[in-house]
Subunit: 365 residues, 3 copies
C-alpha cells in the first residue's frame, strides 16, 4: 500500500523521548541557547554547576525569548524587563515588585549531558529516565575520533530516518565515496524488530571496495561489507559500517581479516513538521597516527552528509508540491516502513493517554 502523508504534515510528535538538543560545545557557560524542538521554543543554559537546564523559551510577561537574555548563576534572566527563572521554570524575581504571581512559570524539561550530546526530554517529566537515552560511547571513548555536523534541515525528520534504514542509496547518492553499485544490486538485507526500534542488517559479499573503503581500509582485494542500522524510536540511530577481506568470515560472526569500521551516531530531532535539527557524528578508532589521512576521511564523510541533505530537501520540496501523490514501495523499504509503524504506534499510544505525553505536569505520588 502506498505510504501517504510521507511529509508528516499536521502530525504530532512523540513526546516521551529523549531528543538530541545540542552539542556540549554549543552550550557555553553563561550563554543561553535557543532552539525549536517538537514545534516548541526551548532555551538551554548551563547552571552554575555546569549541568544543562532546559526551559520554555518565552518569558511569561511579554513573550520575549529567554534565549536573548542572560544567565545569572542558576537562573536565567529575561533580556527585556529582567524577570528571572530558576531551572524548574519558576519565576523567582520580578524587578519593581515583591509579589510573584503563582502563574508566573514556564515549562521546564529534563536535560542531561551524555556521550557528547545534550539530551532533552520533551514529555511527561515524571517518566524521564536517563537510562533510556541512546548510548553513543564512541563519542568520548579514549583513542576514538569523530567528525560531526549539526544542521537545520528543511525536511520532516522521518525522511532522514527513512534514509538511514535503507542504505542502498549509497550506490546512487554517494557513488564517489562510500557507495558502489553492488550495495543496491547484491545486498542481503535482514530487518528485525528490536526492543525499542528496528535493525536492518545489510551484507554485501565479495565485492570491490568502494573508494573510501579501499583508501582507508587499504584493500587490494574484494571485501565482505556490512551496514548495520539500529533505529531507536523515535529519533536516534547508530549505524556500524565496515568491511573485511572477502571470505574471511565477517558475515558469519568472526572478526574477519583486515577488518575496518566506523560508527555513525544520529540524533534526528524534529523542529517542526518541515524542519529538523540533525546531529550527525562519524566515530572511528583508526587513523590516530595519521592526521592527514584522518582529515581526508573526515572530508569524505562531510561530503556524504552534504549529499544526503540535498536529497532530503529535494524530497520535501516535492512533497510540499504534491502532498497526496501516491508512492510505490520497493523491497528495501521494509526497514523504513517498520520504523514508521513503530512511530505511529507510539503516537497512537500517547494520544490515547495524553497525560503521559507531558501536556500536564506529572505529580509523583
Amino acid at each position: 500500500m502506498p505510504v501517504r502523508n510521507l511529509n508528516g504534515a499536521g502530525a504530532q510528535f512523540v513526546r516521551n523521548a529523549w531528543y538530541a538538543a545540542a552539542w556540549p560545545d554549543e552550550l557555553v557557560a553563561g550563554k543561553p541557547l535557543g532552539c525549536t524542538m517538537l514545534s516548541e521554543p526551548v532555551v538551554l543554559y548551563r547552571r552554575a554547576d555546569g549541568i544543562p537546564a532546559a526551559l520554555e523559551d518565552r518569558c511569561v510577561h511579554r513573550s520575549m525569548p529567554l534565549s536573548l537574555g542572560r544567565v545569572r548563576g542558576d537562573f536565567i534572566e529575561c533580556g527585556y524587563h529582567g524577570l528571572q527563572y530558576d531551572c524548574t521554570g519558576a519565576c523567582v524575581r520580578i524587578p519593581g515588585q515583591q509579589a510573584i504571581p503563582r502563574m508566573a512559570r514556564v515549562r521546564s524539561y529534563p536535560a542531561v549531558e551524555q556521550d557528547g550530546f545534550v539530551w532533552v526530554w520533551m514529555g511527561d517529566t515524571g517518566c524521564a529516565d536517563p537510562a533510556k537515552i541512546t548510548r553513543f560511547p564512541w563519542m568520548t571513548r579514549p583513542g576514538w575520533q569523530h567528525t560531526k555536523l549539526h544542521a537545520r534541515i528543511a525536511c520532516n525528520y522521518q525522511l532522514i530516518v527513512d534514509n538511514l534504514l535503507d542504505l542502498s542509496h549509497l550506490a546512487f547518492v554517494h557513488s564517489t565515496t562510500v557507495g558502489s553499485i553492488e550495495l543496491a544490486d547484491a545486498a542481503i538485507v535482514k530487518t528485525e524488530r528490536t526492543q525499542d526500534g528496528v535493525r536492518t542488517s545489510r551484507w554485501t559479499l565479495d565485492v570491490p571496495p568502494a573508494r573510501t573503503y579501499a583508501q582507508f581500509g587499504r584493500y587490494e582485494c574484494n571485501v565482505d561489507r556490512w551496514q548495520l542500522s539500529d533505529f531507536h524510536a523515535p529519533c536516534t540511530l547508530v549505524i556500524r559500517n565496515g568491511s573485511a577481506k572477502a571470505g574471511t568470515g565477517a558475515s558469519e560472526g568472526r572478526s574477519g581479516e583486515q577488518a575496518w569500521e566506523f560508527i555513525v551516531c544520529h540524533g534526528v530531532t524534529p523542529e517542526t513538521d518541515r524542519t529538523t535539527s540533525y546531529f550527525w557524528a562519524v566515530t572511528h578508532d583508526f587513523g590516530a597516527d595519521d592526521a592527514e589521512a584522518t582529515a581526508e576521511f573526515h572530508r569524505q564523510c562531510q561530503q556524504v552528509i552534504g549529499e544526503d541533505i540535498a536529497v532530503f530537501t529535494a524530497q520535501q520540496r516535492m512533497l510540499d508540491l504534491k502532498p497526496d501523490a501516491p508512492l510505490i514501495d520497493i523491497r528495501y523499504d521494509q526497514g523504513p516502513k517498520e520504523a514508521r509503524r513503530i512511530v505511529a504506534r507510539l503516537l497512537a499510544d500517547e494520544r490515547s493517554d495524553p497525560a503521559s505525553a507531558g501536556e500536564k505536569h506529572h505529580v509523583p505520588a
Copy 2:
C-alpha cells in the same frame, strides 16, 4: 487578566488619526515615494508648490503602483500607460482617449508637513484637522539638533508603544548606555490619562547616573532622573528624559542643578498587523559647541534604538509561534495597558460609526 492577542492579528487600525508617513528629506521633489500605511498602499509626492500629496498607490487601470511613475507638475503619472491623477485622486488624463470615466479615481489622503515630519490622515477626510497633529517643535527649533531613524520593523506597532510606556526596560536592554538597574528596581511611576492618551512619569531619585548620563551630563554625583512618556493615541509619543543633581528639587517642579535633558519624538505607523514603519528622533539643545561629543551621543542613541528593534522582532517571532500563550502583567504595565485600552476604545468607536473612519468620503454640510 492576561492580555491575549498581544500581536493584534486581524485587528483593524484606528483610521481617524494623523500618522507619520515620511521624513521631509525622504520626499524629494519630482520623485514619488511608495509606502504602506494601515495595510493600504500609499504614494506620496510633492506638488509643484512643494506641498505633499498622498494618494492610493494603485492605478485604477491595471493596478500598477503609481509610486513607480512620474511626477508631472501637480499630477502623478502612471509609469505603465500614462494615466495622470491630480492630488484629489481624480484621473485627469488617459492617453489615447478623451473621455475619462467618472469612476477613474483613486483615494486621496490629507497630507501635511510639520515639525520635520510628513503626516498623513488615513480616515474621514472631512475630519482631518491639522491642529490635531502631535507637535514635535524641537525637531526644527534653532539651536536644537537631532539624530533620527526611519525603519520598517517586523512587529505589530503596539509592541513598540508598550516599550515606550514602560521604561524599566532600560535597565536590561540598554544597560551599557542609558540604563541602570535602579530604573527597574527603584523607580516611582505615576500613570495618568491625558486628553488624547496616557502619560507615565517615572522618577528615580538619588542614584548613580547611567553611563550616557554621566558622560554627557558630566555628573560626578548621584542624580534625580526623570522619564516622562506622553502617548498621544493611537501612534505618536514624546518622551522627555533627563536628570539633575540629586536632591536639587527637580522632582518637585524646580529646574534642579546641572539639569540635562533630551527629548525623543516617535511616530509609530502600522504598515500591517506584523510590520511597522517607525520614525524615531532624539532631539537636544546641548552639545552645539562640541561636534565630537554630539556625534558620540548620537552613536549611543542609535545603539539604543537598535537594541529595541531586536526586542520587538524577537517578541513578534514568539507571538507568531505561540499566539495564544497567556501573558502575565507586572506592576510597570499600567501605562502600556492603559494605552491599549484607549486604542481599543477608539477602534470600537470607529466600528460603531464606520462612516467616520473614512470608508466613504465625507461631504461637509
Copy 3:
C-alpha cells in the same frame, strides 16, 4: 465592466497546448533539467538520439525529483535509489528486485524541438499535434540574429500577455529606447480575432522615430511605424515592430522606403498562478555586418525587457495586496480583453470535457 481577478488566482490553466519549456541550449545532453509548468513538476532530458523527452519530475518511490538524477542512454535514473524510467514514463528498473509494479510509472509529455525552442504539450497526449506549435522561423533562419532571455517572473502569465497586446505602454515604460509619446497619443489600433487568437495592429503615422528606431533605422525624417501583435492562445506571441519613411506607403501594404523591422518571439509559460517562465527573443536580419551596432541594439532590447519585468512584478505585488480592487478599462484594452476572453473560453471548454485536458491518458481508437 471592470476585469476582476486579474491575477488569475485559483485559475486552471489551458492544458491542451504546446508550451515553451526550454531553450535547446539549456537542455544539454546527459543532464536532466527540472522546471515547473502549469503547477506541475516536469523534467526534460535528451534521449540518446538527442530528441527531448519530458516526464513528471517525481520518482514514484519516495518523491525524489528525477531532475536531480542521471541520464542513462534513453532512460532517466533517480538519484536516490536508482529507479530508471523510459521516455514513456514507465519504470524499467528497480535495483535489488526483478518485479516492477504495474503502477510504477510517471506521467510523460510529448516534447518537440523546433525553431529554437523546446516545446512541451501539457494536455491529452492523443491530441498533441506538432503542426499546432507556433512557428518562430526567424530564430534559426540563416542571416538572422537574435538576443534572448529566459527568466522566471513573479507574476501571473496573463499580465505579460496583456502587456504584449497593448503596446501603448512603450511611450511610458520604454521612453528612452523604443518608445515615444505618439505611440500612446496618436496610434490607430485595429483588433481582430484570428484563427487561434487575436491580432492588434497599431499604426502611428508621420511621427519622429523613437531613439532606437532613429539609431538603427538611421532615420533623419519622420516615420510611419507599425506594431503588429499576434497572440496565439493561450501562451505564445509574435510581434513585428518596424517603420519606414513617413508617407511611403507602408501602412497601405507597400514595403515603404527605408523600412526597418525586428520580430519578437514570446513563450509565456505559466509556472504557477503567480509565477511565469518567460521566453523572449528579439530576431532581426539587419546589422549582420556590424557587430558593434548589433551589440548595442541587443543591449537596448535587454533594457526594454528588464523594464517590462519590473512592471509585471509591481502589478502582481499590488494585485496580491488588493485582489478585489476594481479595475477600469481604457480604449487600448480591446486586444488584451479579447485575449482573456479566448483563454476563458478554452478553459471552459476543457472543464466541460475534462478528458481532453489530459487528466487521464487518451487511448486512440
